[in-house]
């Protein structure tokens, strides 16, 4: 049983556990860059020549007197060094024997919220910093909200500068209680609080003597061992946004892309959305040879058994688990441009691999970042979050962000300035529209699957076939009457010809499908060993 879950890599568990994406967020001056510098230093990711440069820079720009200013290890831009703040998100890489970390160091200042959101979009875990002297600030709430909106499930609350409050446990406990209260509605999977002093290294790598009352793990210890449950259910139907059509010769037409969700099996029946063309996977092509299955995150090239018209932006999905496409979504947006949204603004939406012209058709409400409650708003200004309806000029395949991190994530680009003006997460994909209204494929009910929708090719073919079949039944009826003169017998024979044929066909097709499916499944399990 477990063999099926270990596809396709026997070492999957060990490797998956070994890479953690982190984002750090905090307010201005609460020591975030110092904490990161300290983490890098203590995990021996800082090398001798970098340390020499750090000591030189500390004397020139440092805010710690003659002592090493660890913040200068990460604040790489000149403007940042001069102003002593972090402006842009920086990515840092370090590893311990147990885990590798990709860490997005996000700025705290409200002006740079968009950079913080960018860092959070890929994170598994967020470290939220609090200055022990200041407690929970409006920025702490704002960062927590954004982190939660972008689907980060795990939080470390690092209460920093404990030395400045004399490592007082009651202050720490009050801050933690305040935070738990503030974050209670954000639905985090876990919130782990740790009292630290980044500058002097307390509770960063090892437990500090100065917090004997604290019994939890040190920060690095926690990061190394925290378990991040896989965000998706591998049994869910796959989603394959087509990124690039690879057509080097007349004989090869491949659809290149990255599997967004689920598992693709060779020979599986599929449907291309939003067009609704059906086919079957022929090959799953990679430079290392064809493979039998492809999993989420893998970049592959698919070929299909039929020549159908698919282009960049289309989504290939299992025939038995399609999605609806539509020309609008309701999304939670973070507005990132300096100019607030204006009603007539001409935008482009980028979602999956698709691009369409779009506009914000109406802001439903903005979010009050202090209470997390909706408040009325007509537009969104920079760094504001709100729920809005977005309409596009052609159907796109979308899904709720809660269930699909790929087809539920979007950015909006201003068509005049080419600036990325907003990022958003889909809250409700479109209602299932009627096909005859929109030409968009929806999963048909049983009757329509057989007879097709009014005006469709399928319906025409169905009618034509029915006519032929009725005519044949009538001819048969005539022949039997002519031969036997028995009207009852003739009726039975004619009717049987009309009805039994299709039923038998469908029964045979169904049996064949089941047999093929069972066979390919067996092959798959065989390949896994």
């Amino acid at each position: 049983m477990s063999a099926a879950l270990k596809l396709p890599d026997a070492d999957a568990d060990r490797h998956t556990a070994s890479l953690l994406h982190l984002v750090t967020c905090g307010s201005v001056d609460d020591g975030k860059s110092t904490l990161l510098g300290r983490l890098l230093f203590d995990s021996h990711a800082v090398l001798d020549d970098q340390l020499t440069a750090l000591d030189r820079d500390s004397k020139r720009f440092g805010t710690q007197g003659e002592a090493r200013d660890f913040a200068l290890l990460v604040d790489g831009l000149s403007a940042e060094r001069e102003q002593g703040i972090t402006i842009d998100v920086a990515y840092r890489y370090f590893s311990t024997p147990n885990r590798s970390f990709i860490l997005a160091d996000a700025p705290g200042h409200e002006q740079y919220t968009r950079n913080m959101a960018t860092g959070a979009s890929k994170a598994d875990l967020a470290i939220i910093l609090i200055d022990a002297r200041k407690g929970v600030l409006p920025q702490t709430r704002r960062h927590s909200y954004i982190v939660s909106m972008l689907g980060v499930r795990h939080v470390v609350l690092a209460v920093n500068k404990m030395d400045l409050i004399g490592f007082a446990p009651d202050v720490y406990r009050r801050i933690v209680a305040d935070y738990r209260d503030a974050a209670s509605s954000l639905g985090f999977g876990s919130v782990v609080a740790i009292p630290i002093c980044a500058r002097e290294g307390d509770n960063i790598v090892t437990h500090s003597d100065r917090t004997p009352w604290y019994e939890g793990p040190a920060l690095l210890e926690h990061l190394e061992t925290v378990s991040i449950e896989p965000p998706e259910d591998a049994t869910k139907g796959f989603r394959f946004p087509v990124q690039y059509v690879n057509r080097p010769t007349l004989d090869f037409r491949g659809y290149a892309g990255t599997v967004a969700n689920g598992v693709i099996y060779a020979h599986q029946p599929v449907i291309a959305l939003p067009g609704g063309q059906r086919s079957r996977i022929d090959r799953i092509v990679t430079a290392d040879g064809d493979i039998a299955t492809a999993v989420a995150g893998q970049a592959v090239t698919l070929t299909l058994t039929d020549e159908i018209d698919i282009s960049r932006g289309d989504v290939i999905v299992p025939a038995d688990d399609p999605l609806a496409a539509g020309t609008e979504v309701t999304a939670r947006l973070l507005w990132m441009a300096e100019a607030p949204h204006s009603p007539g603004q001409s935008l482009q939406i980028k979602l999956g691999t698709a691009t369409a012209n779009a506009r914000v058709a109406g802001v439903r409400h903005a979010i009050d970042i202090h209470s997390f409650q909706p408040r009325p708003a007509a537009t969104l200004a920079m760094n504001e979050i709100g729920v809005a309806r977005i309409v596009f000029d052609r159907p796109l395949v979308t899904a709720d962000y809660a269930t699909d991190r790929e087809l539920g994530a979007l950015v909006l680009v201003d068509r005049m300035t080419n600036q990325t003006v907003a990022l958003g997460v889909v809250e409700s994909a479109p209602p299932r529209l009627r096909l005859d209204e929109t030409q968009i494929h929806v999963r048909p009910d049983k009757v329509h699957r057989v007879i097709g929708y009014a005006g469709s090719t399928k319906r025409a073919v169905f009618l034509q076939r029915m006519m032929g079949r009725l005519l044949r039944g009538l001819v048969l009826f005539g022949i039997v009457v002519w031969l036997s003169g028995n009207w009852t017998l003739a009726s039975v024979v004619g009717l049987a010809d009309v009805v039994l044929g299709p039923l038998l066909n469908s029964a045979v097709a169904s049996a064949w499908r089941h047999w093929r499916h069972a066979r390919s499944h067996t092959e798959l399990l065989g390949a896994g060993h």
Partner: protein
């Protein structure tokens, strides 16, 4: 993301970036510096478009001061792989006599690398150029996007970078603007070497230790690759067992003494090392923020 190893995830992300560029740009090119990162980049590009041939040419900016072994490797690999290779040299700079000894590292790099690169991009009207830079190399690189927008004058504006959430890259640009794209952004030096080993990617032999003629100058071990390097009084050439962690112009690239002659030995040496790979690059030590400044001016 389920079931993929760390290197598989990095590989898939890079392939995704390659395809995104080719799907959205008109005339892409790949900068090929012939170093280990470039070789990994080329390997990933070939994988991304398999079974099609590489849908863009390679560009090598030749300062005429690269190691001879690099040029031999370049020509041999281009032939083996059947890729289209463009070699560009700044002839104006050559005529003006710019060289790393007389002009100093800063002017040489600006004229023969940065200006030369801009010439080549303008001449061929490339609107997207892949490079092998990694964010872990240098602090200002740590803040660069995967898709880095450059003005018509090739300038980078670090304060006005586009947010890049998820894998959603804003590939829009105005006429004249271009992108520098870094598919290896999230790779570390260790990842690169482990991948070279896993995929058996050929790299220039200079990465492996061998007895080579070196001169000790300004605290660096410089390999005397040809007799254009005049000896200063008191200097002498001696054979030492050396290798290189990065490759550039030979007079500006410091060697390190090493006995690592195999990939596993190189990887072991890197793990034990207490210095960063760019330590041997003279051009990085022109002052704090010097890489940021070079990048703003159009350096890769």
């Amino acid at each position: 993301m389920s079931g993929l190893s760390r290197l598989q995830r990095l590989e898939a992300e890079s392939i995704h970036i390659f395809r995104e560029v080719v799907a959205t740009s008109e005339n892409p090119v790949m900068l090929w510096s012939i170093g280990k990162d470039s070789c990994v980049l080329l390997h990933l590009a070939l994988k991304a478009f398999y079974p099609a041939p590489l849908p863009f040419p390679l560009l090598h900016v030749d300062t005429t001061w690269k190691f001879r072994a690099m040029i031999e490797f370049r020509d041999r690999r281009a032939k083996e792989l059947g890729v289209h290779l463009i070699v560009h040299t700044n002839e104006d700079g050559l005529r003006a006599g710019v060289n790393p000894f007389a002009s100093g590292s800063r002017l040489h790099t600006d004229v023969m690398k940065t200006q030369a690169l801009k010439q080549a991009l303008d001449k061929n009207k490339f609107d997207a150029a892949f490079g092998g830079a990694r964010r872990d190399e240098e602090k200002s690189r740590a803040k660069e996007r995967v898709f880095s927008l450059r003005s018509a004058e090739h300038r980078w504006d670090p304060k006005n970078q586009r947010p890049e959430p998820w894998h959603l890259y804003n590939t829009n640009k105005r006429p004249g603007e271009s992108f520098r794209i870094f598919p290896l952004s999230n790779w570390t030096e260790a990842d690169v070497w482990e991948y070279v080993e896993q995929e058996s990617i050929p790299v220039v032999p200079l990465y492996f230790a061998a007895p080579r003629p070196v001169v000790e100058r300004d605290g660096m071990l410089i390999m005397r690759d040809d007799d254009r390097m005049a000896l200063r009084p008191g200097e002498s050439v001696e054979m030492r067992m050396i290798r290189f962690r990065t490759l550039g112009c030979y007079p500006l690239t410091g060697a390190s003494e090493s006995d690592a002659t195999t990939l596993p030995q190189i990887i072991a040496e890197m793990r034990d090392s207490r210095t960063s790979e760019r330590q041997g690059r003279a051009i990085d030590h022109d002052g704090a923020g010097s890489m940021e400044q070079k990048k703003q001016e159009g350096y890769f």
